[in-house]
Every structure is written in structure tokens, then in C-alpha cells.
Amino acid sequence: MAAAQNQTAVQTQAVQAATAAQAKPEALASDPRSADKVRSGKKQPSGRPPVKPGTFSRMMKYMFHFYKWRLVIVLICLAVSGLSGVIASVFLQTLVDTAITPGLTKGLQAVYPQLLSIIGTMIAVYAAGVIASNIYTQIMATVTQGTLKHMRDDMFDRMETLPIRYFDQHLTGDIMSTYTNDTDAIRQMIGQSLPMIYQTGLSVIAIVISMLKFSVWMTIGVAFFMYVMSRISKTFAGRSASGMVDQQKSLAAEEGFVQEIMNGQKVVQVFNHEEAAKADFRTFNQKLFEDSDRANRAGFMLMPILGNVGNIMYIALAILGGFLVTLKAPNLTLTGIDTVTIGVIVSFLAMTRQLAQSIGQASMQVSMIALGLAGVSRVFELMDQKPEEDDGYVELVNAGYDKDGTIHETDHLTGKWAWKHPHHDGTLTYTPQQGDVRMFNVDFGYVPNKLVLHDITLYAKPGQKIAFVGATGAGKTTITNLINRFYDIPDGKIRYDGINIRKIKKPDLRRSLGVVLQDVNLFTGTVMDNIRYGRLNATDEECIAAAKLANADDFITRLPDGYDTFLTGNGAQLSQGQRQLISIARAAVADPPVMILDEATSSIDTRTEALVQKGMDNLMKGRTVFVIAHRLSTVRNADAIMVLDHGRIIERGSHDELIAQKGVYYQLYTGAFELE
């Protein structure tokens, strides 16, 4: 009877699982950028670690922290609802023994009060059960989704504080999987599996106690079957689980193959390679079929086998009961020795059936809980990541100038900025922000013992344009990573306006640096939103002016909705060059004194670049600029060009000086060298 309620739970859970299957968005299913630029060399899919010990109790604490009283009510209601099911199976015996059997001899009138009282109790108990179920399911909907929200928010908040190193070392797909697959698994566990396991546990205890009250012999029989069933579950669940692992692997292999072929579909056609590709696919597909069949087969078979073994147990106990009744065997119970009645058998059988079903359902939940706990473990792991350290105390403030030229702090925009520098002796000094960046003998490696930069020294005076040239992996981007403190180096080696950058608060430091990167990232939203990202309080006019500066206005106004064109998928509807132009406009709106342009115009063809160049020149006017460029025409007019090779500056000077040197730069410039 209470089996019905288990079945219900399974049903809703399956519905949710099924609907969740829809959730996999297209964009996530095939993350084209998961092969992100590998900067630190080690960026591998995390070998999903086992569940950390203590995860369960930590999750409980987490949930109780937010929903203490609601969870207490849920636990009570779950118990009431579960026990009402157990009690229900005893009613039949009471009905048979106290009403029907005596009624057969005494007549209906004599037992009518008893009958009514039993039915009345039944209604009361059932009503309590239904009400309790209703209450706990409603509360759990709130608690489950609420907990997920708290987890998501905590995870995201922590993620925002993590150093860039974390993102360089983890695949986007892996981090995303915590937000999608893991939270889905947690929802399953909190919302369905845990309540069910808790309820089943209570029911099993209650059932076993009442069984013992009815008959010890028969309980021993039940125990035997329970053992058999648990062995069966273990075997099949194990087989299914190992199949699942193989299935996941061959699915990943097949997806990889499909991605690769689809990606190169044009090449496939150009080479008439279609038939060969089909044949290759067949191999992957057959493997996937075999593995998934193995996984599914074991999983599918478990339920009918358990169900039918449950039937067999039921029948075997009926026969055993029949013998006990017929033989009038002494019945050992918890309360003493008596004889077995038919009512006892009927109730016992009902309880047996319920027990079998409860355990069957619970066994299905075990894998869900394993999956959910692994998910929670990963969520906590993300929450436990160490945030980016920031011991800076120098702040960037609006500066006002007194008549005598001294600087004071103001709270309104003056267009001038100053570094507010508190000293140990309690005094405050203000340094005007100018954009003077110096590096002294900088050595750096992303991993210990493997230096990427060797002995880099450079001075960028306010308003100067410094260019970096060199092959991929020469360390150009690494230098810029150090300037904005995406990665930190030991004290005092990099100074900004004479201040050790480690003393500057990271947000203030970064606000004073504008960055345009080679891999353009645009966000879902309008073109205007994307430009405004540079300065959130910029007016539309300021954004448009910035776009004009970057020479982006022309193409933006030709888009279907102009500045209100809605961009999705990292601006998928725009060309790479157009996206670069928007990101230049975004940096222009921020109006920082120092700019870092990392291959900002690499995807713009030479003719267009000539047009953008004017805008770029405007943008760079009066600022200190670091330029990384592949194309040498971009860096020609730099004040100083650094040629990097394997982390060392091998040549430095102006374009003319380097050409005169006839060194590496000269060779690059005349095209005698491959740059890639």
C-alpha cells in the first residue's frame, strides 16, 4: 500500500530527471572554446575526485543553516507519512481478527462498532499521512530550490574572486559541469533520494519491529530473502555502474569524433572522404551501442528481478505461514509465544510486500545519492578555493588640485586621479596618476622551476607606446598578465607611478588599466550594453563616441537594430574583426591612462586596419600603451619595440633602430622568418 507512495516518488523523480535531460543547452553541449588557450601548460580535464569525507554532514549543516525549522517539519512529516503506510498494512489484520472473523459467527450488528472504529482510525491515519505528505512535498520544493540557489550564489561569488590562474588551469567545461550536471544531481538527491531513503529507513525499522511482534520464524524467513535481494541488487547495480562508466567514455569518444568531423566537414567534402568518415563513425557507434546496452540491460533488469523475487518471497512466506497455521505451530513473538492466525499471515504478507518494495526503491536511490554527494563535494570544492590575495592598500581617488598645486581627495569626478598612499607612520601621501610603468629584472614562471620570463627590465614613461614582438609562447602575454596582477611576482619589481604594484588594491590597479584581448569576449546583451561594460555609468552618447573612436560606429549602425542589436553566443553574428572593434570601443569608454592591446587588431585585414589605426591612434594619444602584435605594421610607430624570444628581451629599440641592427626584427619585418 505504501508502495504506492514510493512509486509516486519514483515517478516524480523520473519526470524531473527526464525534464532535466532537456536542460542541456546547445551551447553547453558543444563548447567550441573548451580547447582554451593553454597558458600554463597544464589544463586537463579534472579526474573527478572521490567524495571528500564529511561532505554529507557539511551539506546537512549548510541546509539546516538556511532552513532549520522547515527541515524539522519535513523530518516529522516524512516520519508521519512513512509510518502511516506501515500502520496501514496492520489494519487488515485488525480488521480480519477483530471484526470479520468474530462477525462471521456473531453477525454484523455485534461487531459494527468495532468495524466503525477501525475504519475511523484508518481514515484518521491515512488522512494524517496524506496531509503530512502534502506538507513535506510542498516545503521540500522550496527547500530544494532554495538550497540550490544558495549553493549557486555562493559558488558564483567565490568564483568571481578566484585568481586567473584557476581559470587557466581548469577547463570551462569542467567548471560549467558543476553548475549544470552537479546541481542537477544535487537537486535529485535533496528533493527525492534523501527524503525517500530517510523514510524507507524509518519504515524498515517499524516494519521489522512489527514483524517480530507477529512472528519471529517468519521474520527470519524475510531476513533470508532480504539478503538474497541485496546480493542481487549489488551485482546488477555494480554491473550497471561499470557499464555506465564505459558508456560515458565511449560517448565522449564518439562526441569527440563527431565534433572533429563536423568541424572539418568542408575538408571532408573537398577530399571525398564521406564514406571513410561513415565507416569510422560506425566503429565508434558500435562501441557506444555495446557499452550502453550493457549499462542499460543491468539497470533495466534490476527492477523486474527484484519485483519478482519479492513475489517469490511473498509466496514462500505464505506457504510457510500456511504450514504454521495448519500445524498450529507455536509462534515465537517479541511478546511471547502464541499461535499463528490467518490475520497474522495476511498482515505479515502485506508488510513483506511493502518491505520488498521499499528496499527495491531505496536500492535505486543509492546511485542517485552517490551521484549527488559527488556533486556536493565538487560544489564545496569550488566554494573552498582560495580567493585571489590582495594585500594592497593604495587606492585610486578623484584628485583635486589646490592653488599651490598640492593634491587633495574629492568625491566628485575631476577627470584627474591620484594614488592615495597611507604610510606606516600614519601619514597620507597623494601621488598623481600618470601611467608610468617600470619593470626591474622580472623573472616569472607559471609553475615553479619553469621560468617563462627571464630578467625583464623595461620602462614605460607616461604617454609612451611599448610594443612586444615575438613568437607564440615567447612571453608577451605573460608580461601583461603581471602588470594587471593576474599573476603576482615578488615585491617591488613592478612599479606603477613609482608605487610597488603589490601595494595597490587590485580593483584600483585594474581600473587604471584598459585591456583589449585577442580572444574577444562579448556578453549576451545589446551592442550598447557591451560597450558600456567598460564604464557602467557611461551615457549612450559616450558609448557612441567611443565606438566612433574605434571606427566601430560605421558597421554598428548598419546592423539590423544598430546599437540595440542583441548579441548572443559571444557575438556569433559578427565577424571576428567586428568583435575586435567592439572590444576596442569597450576599452575606449573606460578611458584608462594605461592600455594593454593584446593582438587587438589581429583579425582585421590590413586595409581595414589602416582605417582602425586612426581610431587607435586617437585612443592611444596621451596614454601609456603596451601593444602586442603579430603584424609588424601595427607596432611600427611604437616608442620602443621589445623582441621577445623564450622569455628574454633579445632586441629593443625603435623601429628604425631595430631595422638598422639587421637582427631578428629585421628578418621578421622582411618576412624571412615565420611568426607563429
Binding site: 500500500m1 504506492a4 512509486q7 515517478q11 516524480t12 519526470v15 524531473q16 527526464a18 535531460a21 546547445e26 553541449a29 558543444s30 580547447a35 471484526a99 462477525g103 475504519i119 491515512y126 502534502n134 512535498t137 540557489k149 549557486r152 550564489d153 558564483f156 568571481e160 574572486t161 567548471i175 560549467m176 560517448l251 564518439e254 563536423m262 572539418g264 568542408k266 575538408v267 567534402q269 573537398v270 577530399f271 557506444l288 546496452d293 540491460r297 539497470g299 519485483g307 517469490i312 509466496i315 505464505a318 500456511g322 490467518i342 499471515i345 587590485k506 585594474r510 584598459g514 584581448l517 569576449n521 561594460y533 559571444n570 573606460a590 585585414d605 590590413t606 631595422i659 615565420e674 607563429e676
Partner: protein, 594 residues
């Protein structure tokens, strides 16, 4: 739609039919069990143990049969559903192989991958449920009702009332929540998409110090997701108590009426055992209804996926090989006759307008033009990667649409701008050009493409593994490998679409020299950004806005002082100037020294 998908069952038809049959067998056994059980219970307490043993043995036999049926049905359904999924994936893949670029762009690569994975999985799950449950649940309801009626017709009326009530509640909830789920999963996707953008753009977020802004944005979205999901889950949560209420109400009613009936008729109209059986049938019926609603929901979910799959399977490729197409390409002549081309019928703008061009066999054509000037579109028409919108393109004097597609593409080798190498060894990749190429031939092709020298430097030489996406070779190396791969086809026409951009000028010149000397009869079409890559071509065209705006040899074009000259100057002038400046500077120095 269902017909299209059903075609993919093929060799798994047997399992798909067998599984529901076996399930039906299991259901019949399961229905008989409570019936016989009632008999067994009723014979308990009698003096003789024989009836108990008799019914007991029968029951055991039946449950073992049921066990067998159930297990076999599960195994068959697994095979049927996995098999269907396998065939669907293969069919989609095979279909996509026939698609033209236009067709693939129409669906988008990402969407095709999703259809092959997530969508097929959804259909597979629904199908597995269907073969096991679609018969099981209705049969269970019918048999249980029949058995209940056979025990006591009047009392089974209770079920006939309960079935529609529960059915309406459960199906009502499913129907009500499904569209909400569809809607809020979109919102959920959007939230996760936002997270993904945030992770990928973390450098931008941190550079602009937008962490707090992003947090606020995310909190708002996650709150909306929480709100919506809580709402829909609360509706869904009524499933459990309503199911319980129906079950409990049935049991209570049966118990009350049954007890009265047994007592008043002294057990002649109904026995204790039969009462217990009735209750069991009741529970079975209600569980079966739950199952039906579950299948219903799964099918609703799978419907969208099934439609998306059927769309791919029933979509006919726009470019197909003609029947009895020409199998011989006379020579490497290429003619464009008033060709206009646009990427889709709906687009207003033509990518190419009224292009006419004659390329003699064995000559070299250079193409120069800015991004978006449709250089690539022009050459892709030659191997029918796209078909013209107006006019015609001929190869060897015949319209390309008359050739057998495989033959045409074998003779027109194209090194695409978007170069792709596949995971596998270098020689495996090169054999795409010619599966039967000998090691000697491969090496020769690589020598022409100036790739042999760097391949020899790899420890595994031609057996070096190329990583997915070709990330372990440099851009210039990749381009040279792709050229070698195309050369192995020994084509009549060779097209290089900006294929030497990452190669240094010296090597670039060597490659062109090799072309001139080793494959003089092959027509060579070279698209380039660098003027130096095309300046020695027999004919050079300059494209702008989908038209040929200048045409001639290097010298002729320089004399025209048009775009070509402009590009040429922008690429060379500065370098020359610098050179002359430094030279004069050095001379002055020398003079002074002297």
C-alpha cells in the same frame, strides 16, 4: 515524424516487438498471483496442508515464469532502445555527410552535434519506456479490472470511479507543468550560458573590475530560476499526496464495504483472501496509471527531440551528384560565365555579382582582395561546395553541375582557408588526399609543399601524432601539411585559399617555385593577402564587394594605380623606404669616414 524515426529500427524490430510481448506475459503472471494467493489464504487453517502446498507450488512456478519474462523483456528493451539510438546516430551522421556547406550552415554544426547526442538520448529513453511500459500499464489496468470484477463486480466499481479521478489529476499536472518546464528550462539555460560567458570572459571581467556587477546580475538570474522552479515543483509535488489519497480512499472503501459484505453473507459473496486480493489489484491499477502518466511526460519531452532528428533525416541535401554524371574532366580550364551568387535565397545582398573569368588550363591565377570581398566564395563554386545563383561555372569546358560530384572534387583540390587536420598520424592525414599513396609519393608531395624538412625533425617523422585540431604543429606547418595533402590528389586544378599566410616569404616562394616546375599542367588558383604570393602569377584579379575590379599581370596592375597598387605600396613601401634610408645613412657614414 514517427515514420521517419521508425525506419531507423531496422535490425532491432525483433527486439522492439518481443519486448512488449514478454512484458505482457509478465503482466498476466503478475495479475494471476494475487488471484491464486487469495485461494491459498482462504485454504489456510484447514486441516489438510495439501491445498496450501498445491497453490503454493503453482504460485512459485508462475512467479519464476514472471521473473523470466520480466528479465528477458528488460534485456530486449535495452537492446531495442540502444539499437534504435545507434541507428539514429548513424543515420544522422550519414545524412550529414551528404549535406552541402549551405545545408550545414543552415543547421549549424553545434546544433547537429546536439541532435546526435542529447536529442537521440531523449528519444532513446522515451523508446525504452514505451516498449516496456506502453503495453504493461494498460494491460495491467485491464487485467486488474477484469480480475477485480471477477472477484466482485459491485466492489470493483470503486476502481472504475478512482481511475478517472486519479487519471485526471495526474495527467492534468503533467500537461500543466510541461509547458512551464519547457519555458523555465530556457531561462535555466540562459543562466548557465551567462555563467559560461563569465568564465570564458574572466579576463575581461577582472580587467574592468566587474566582479560585483557580475555577482548582482547572477543573483538576480538565480533568484528568478529559483522562483520559477519552486513554483512548478510545488505543482508537481501534488502528485504524491493525490496518489496516496486515491490509494488510501480505495483501500478504506474496499475494507469497509468488503468487511460488511463478508460478515453479512457469511463469506459466501466475498472471502477474506479475496478482500486482500482486491486491495492488491487496486494498488496495481493506480500504480499503472502513474506509469502511464510518466510515459506520457517522457514522450512529450522526446517529441521535440524526435522532431529535430526527423528534420535532419528528412532534409534533402541541396547539392547532389547528377545521375550518370560525367566521369572525365578534360583539362584544368575554368570558366566563370556571368556568375552571381548569394548564400541564401533570402539574403538581399549578392556575394558575387556578374563575374566572368577565363582561366586557361595549367595557368596560375592570383586573387587579391580585402576581407568580405568574396574571394573564397568565388573559388568554392569551382568544386561545387556551393552552387551558383545565376550564370554558370565550367571546368574542362563542361558545367560543373554535369559532373559526377566525386569525380569533380577529385580533380579540383582545394586547400581551404579554415585548415583542418584530424587526430591521427601525419601520414594518415596526408592519405586523405590519396588512400593508396605510397610512402614515396607522400614524401614527394611533402617536399613540394616544403613540409618534408620539418617533418623529418619530429622524432616520429611521418608517424607523428597530430592532436585534435592540429594544435601541436605551428600555423605555418599546418598550412604546408594541408597543401601536401591536396597535392597528393594529383588534381587538374589546385586552389589555395589564403593557405600560405603563416608561411614565411622565402618558403612561400619555394612552394610556388615547386608548383611551377613540378606540376606545370595543373591550373593553380592562389588567394593571398600578401602581394608577394601572387605577383608572379599569369593573371591576377582584384576583388572588391563581390566583383572583379582589376585584372592583369603584376606589372599591368601596378601601372593602373588602383587598389592593387595601394595594397602593394602599403605592404612594401615602408620597408623599401626604411631600407633606402638606412642605406643612405650608412653611405653617409662611410663617406664621412672616408
Amino acid at each position: 515524424m514517427i515514420k521517419t524515426l521508425a525506419k531507423s529500427l531496422r535490425e532491432y524490430k525483433r527486439e522492439s516487438i518481443l519486448s512488449p510481448l514478454l512484458v505482457s506475459g509478465e503482466v498476466i503472471m503478475e495479475v494471476i498471483i494475487p488471484f491464486l494467493m487469495a485461494k491459498l489464504i482462504d485454504h489456510m487453517g484447514e486441516r489438510s496442508i495439501q491445498p496450501v502446498v498445491y497453490y503454493g507450488v503453482w504460485l512459485l512456478v508462475i512467479s519464476f515464469i514472471s521473473l523470466f519474462f520480466g528479465a528477458a523483456a528488460a534485456a530486449e528493451s535495452s537492446k531495442a532502445s540502444c539499437g534504435l539510438a545507434k541507428n539514429l546516430r548513424q543515420d544522422i551522421f550519414d545524412r550529414v555527410q551528404t549535406y552541402s556547406f549551405h545545408d550545414i550552415n543552415r543547421f549549424s554544426e553545434a546544433s547537429l552535434v546536439t541532435r546526435m547526442t542529447t536529442d537521440v538520448t531523449n528519444v532513446q529513453n522515451a523508446f525504452a519506456m514505451l516498449v516496456r511500459g506502453a503495453f504493461r500499464a494498460p494491460l495491467m489496468i485491464i487485467f486488474s479490472v477484469v480480475m477485480a470484477i471477477s472477484i466482485n463486480g459491485k466492489m470493483s466499481l470503486i476502481f472504475l470511479v478512482m481511475i478517472p479521478i486519479l487519471g485526471i489529476i495526474i495527467f492534468g499536472i503533467a500537461i500543466k507543468t510541461h509547458p512551464i518546464f519547457v519555458r523555465i528550462f530556457k531561462r535555466y539555460d540562459a543562466m548557465n550560458n551567462g555563467v559560461q560567458e563569465n568564465i570564458q570572459g574572466m579576463r575581461v571581467v577582472k580587467s574592468f573590475v566587474r566582479e560585483d556587477y557580475e555577482k548582482d546580475k547572477f543573483h538576480k538570474e538565480s533568484e528568478e530560476v529559483r522562483h520559477d522552479f519552486t513554483h512548478v515543483e510545488k505543482i508537481l509535488a501534488f502528485n504524491t499526496p493525490s496518489m496516496q489519497a486515491c490509494v488510501f480512499a480505495s483501500i478504506t472503501l474496499i475494507s469497509y464495504i468488503g468487511a460488511r459484505l463478508i460478515i453479512s453473507t457469511k463469506g459466501s459473496a466475498l472471502t477474506t483472501g479475496e478482500l486482500s486480493s482486491l486491495i492488491n489489484y487496486g494498488v496495481q491499477i493506480l500504480v499503472a496509471i502513474m506509469m502511464l502518466s510518466f510515459i506520457f511526460v517522457l514522450c512529450m519531452i522526446a517529441e521535440e527531440s524526435a522532431e529535430r532528428i526527423a528534420e535532419v533525416l528528412s532534409y534533402d541535401a541541396t547539392i547532389t551528384s547528377p545521375e550518370n554524371g560525367l566521369t572525365q574532366v578534360a583539362d584544368g580550364r575554368v570558366d566563370f560565365d556571368h556568375v552571381s551568387f548569394k548564400y541564401s535565397d533570402r539574403s538581399k545582398k549578392y556575394a558575387l555579382s556578374d563575374v566572368s573569368l577565363h582561366i586557361p588550363s595549367g595557368s596560375t591565377l592570383g586573387i587579391i582582395g580585402g576581407t568580405g570581398s568574396s574571394k573564397s566564395s568565388l573559388v568554392q563554386l569551382i568544386s561545387r561546395l556551393y552552387d551558383v545563383s545565376e550564370g554558370s561555372v565550367s571546368v574542362g569546358g563542361e558545367d560543373v553541375r554535369k559532373y559526377n560530384l566525386t569525380v569533380l572534387r577529385d580533380q579540383v583540390a582545394c586547400v581551404l582557408q579554415k585548415n583542418v587536420l584530424f587526430s591521427g598520424t601525419i601520414s594518415e592525414n596526408l592519405r586523405w588526399g590519396d588512400p593508396d599513396a605510397t610512402d614515396e609519393e607522400i614524401r614527394h608531395a611533402c617536399e613540394l609543399a616544403q613540409a618534408d624538412s620539418f617533418i623529418q625533425e619530429f622524432p616520429d617523422k611521418y608517424q607523428t601524432m597530430i592532436a585534435q585540431g592540429g594544435t601541436n604543429v605551428s600555423g605555418g606547418q599546418k598550412q604546408r601539411l594541408c597543401i601536401a595533402r591536396a597535392l597528393l590528389k594529383k588534381p587538374k586544378i589546385l586552389i589555395l585559399d589564403d593557405s600560405t599566410s603563416a608561411v614565411d616569404t622565402k618558403t612561400d616562394a619555394l612552394i610556388r617555385k615547386a608548383f611551377r616546375e613540378e606540376i606545370p599542367d595543373t591550373t593553380k588558383i592562389i588567394i593571398a593577402q600578401r602581394v608577394s604570393s601572387v605577383q608572379d602569377a599569369d593573371n591576377i584579379i582584384v576583388m572588391d564587394g563581390g566583383r572583379i575590379v582589376e585584372q592583369g599581370t603584376h606589372e599591368e596592375l601596378l601601372a593602373k594605380h588602383g587598389i592593387y597598387r595601394e595594397v602593394y605600396d602599403s605592404q612594401t613601401r615602408s620597408a623599401q623606404q626604411d631600407e633606402t634610408e638606412t642605406q643612405t645613412g650608412a653611405q653617409n657614414q662611410e663617406e664621412r669616414n672616408a
